[in-house]
Symmetry: C2
């Protein structure tokens, strides 16, 4: 069992009609800016609808060579796939911009956030779900049924990008908060507290596939040693859920202490099953020297670590840790978990950096 | 279950008759040099034999205040206890020197080695066991029955020092090699390979009692998380035994790789159950940076770490690691485990440092 929590590093999409019969996609984070004539896309529809799972059609259209696994190619494929699938016969001329506070390829689910944004924006644009925005609200959300539909389409987009994703990332992106994931089943957790964290990207690339294979190999090699560790990890998830639930009823410093213990134990277990990395251990050591507790997040083997910040953690301590981690060559974000899922924002309610990113286009 | 292995850092005893009716004890490691008249000791016998477990009699005699827990007091108490118990009515005038390559108070069983030496020397001196030395041999050992007796008396000495020892340390000191310890039962392991190691003393003091209590507390707090870890530790011991046995039949580099994996996993588990220490993590990190694998040894919480050295580990690597660890303020010894138990040596077969220590008296 695993717990997945929504991260307050958000991905923003803006979709608006385009006058000159073109479709524009602008992804400033990765420097992608492409456009197609709607008529070109229209001519693609019959063969696409004949076999929507056949990515060759879209690849050929976008001029991508087979086996293209770079971020740009995958982002473009997912966009085309969702655009053609969701809009169907009636392809509109739209101008789409997606900008994210998340780094790509760090195991933080940036592709899922991207797909959730595309699905929500396109489904709303074509009217298959209602625009939830009300005049008085700064931020509005869709109904559960509509969120279900967004999630389903986001999952289709994730499949285009990852082949065989678990579906956890798009679910967290859609619903926010926290989710329990066990043997393929995803269950939302009713209420979770908003926890302040430091997120650190080691920038060490890793392959989830290779890591998962490594865990399986260890389990086969030392079953009596590794199986109990997996069951201990399972128990940590459950204990963590119990504490998170308690915290929504009333936070105490004891809750934080228990979470810190669970973080430490979990990090050791993750090292045992072989998904650790020296760079992640460095983060744990640097933060531990300042009394903070960290663990890897995502698949491990590099990627990111998450450090729990207590309400009573002094700001100078956080700044010192961030400086030290940056000096190690890592990248840090102070953010929170247990954040809201996909929402519609008024432009005035956007964060400073998002407003700036969109105004600079 | 735990594995205990004999360490090739030896403790040497020399016992010889003394002319002037005195008993001399000289412990150069801790700067202790004491003597008593045999007649004084003789007068102590009736009350001692009346109640041998009453340490107050010996404490009063040696002028030790109650609650004296320092190394010297405990060493003197154990000496007096074994001298009076083993020699009984016929107290001889002896000159005893004990010198050790082991540091005291580092969790390496120096007290057990001391007691084994005292028991073996005194039992042989009074003829209760035979002098095993044969002319042609440089090193000789006692029979199994005689070793049993040595071990029993060494355990009595350990009780004087520690109150409630497990008996593992004196058993390893007596038999050498490796032993399995499970719920109070000690079983010698038939054959073990001699493995080259680096032993590093963090010099961080720790209390076994406090550490054991901490583990129990964690187990009560998080039973579903900690119980599987204990069973994984048990499985590591068994796997380790299996590999050690295989190694006696023929070493391969694969055996070392498995031992290294087990060392790493075990070290993580020991951190999980709360017997780690930042200084021990430093040792693990410093050695890992050179491709070597380390774990704490003994009770943890400080004390010593053991680093496995492979037959193909370059000497310059070991030297570099030793230098780095010494720079951290630690103390290192290159030695081996799976060493011989208590033995009689010809003076000519003593190690250089032992010969020097005894000649400087």
């Amino acid at each position: 069992m695993a717990l997945a929590v929504g991260l307050n590093l958000r991905t923003f999409i803006r979709i608006r009609p385009c006058k000159d019969d073109t479709v524009l996609i602008n992804l400033p984070n990765i420097g992608t800016k492409l456009s197609w004539d709607v008529s070109q896309l229209q001519s693609l529809l019959p063969s696409f609808q004949d076999d929507p799972q056949n990515m060759e059609i879209l690849k050929n259209f976008a001029g991508l060579t087979d086996g293209c696994k770079d971020t740009e190619s995958l982002a473009v494929l997912a966009f085309l796939y969702l655009y053609l699938s969701i809009f169907g016969r009636d392809l509109p001329s739209v101008d789409v911009v997606v900008w994210s506070q998340l780094p790509t390829g760090a195991g933080l689910g940036s592709s899922a956030a991207y797909c959730v944004c595309l699905a929500a924006a396109m489904l709303t644009y074509c009217g298959r779900i209602a625009d939830p925005m009300r005049e008085e609200a700064k931020t509005s959300r869709w109904s559960q049924t509509e969120l279900d539909l967004i999630n389903q389409w986001a999952f289709q987009g994730e499949k285009v990008i990852h082949g065989n994703p678990s579906g956890v990332d798009n679910a967290v992106g859609t619903w926010g908060g926290a989710l329990q994931y066990q043997s393929g089943r995803i269950t939302p957790i009713e209420r979770v507290p908003m926890l302040h964290i430091l997120l650190t990207n080691t920038k060490v690339p890793r392959s989830t596939k290779v890591l998962v294979a490594g865990v399986k190999e260890k389990l086969l090699k030392f079953p009596d040693i590794i199986e109990p560790v997996l069951s201990s990890i399972h128990a940590i998830s459950q204990e963590c859920q119990r504490v998170l639930k308690e915290m929504t009823a009333g936070l105490s410093m004891d809750h934080y202490s228990v979470l810190e213990e669970l973080i430490d134990i979990n990090q050791h277990h993750l090292n045992v099953i072989g998904v650790g990395h020296p760079s992640l251990n460095t983060i744990c050591r640097v933060t531990a020297e300042r009394g903070l507790h960290s663990k890897l997040t995502g698949a491990g083997g590099g990627g990111c670590a998450v450090t729990l910040l207590r309400p009573d953690t002094d700001h100078t301590v956080v700044e010192a840790v961030k400086q030290e981690l940056t000096d190690c060559g890592f990248q840090c974000w102070e953010t929170s978990i247990g954040a809201l899922g996909v929402s519609v924002h008024l432009p005035s309610s956007l964060t400073e950096d998002a407003r700036e990113a969109f105004s600079n286009l």
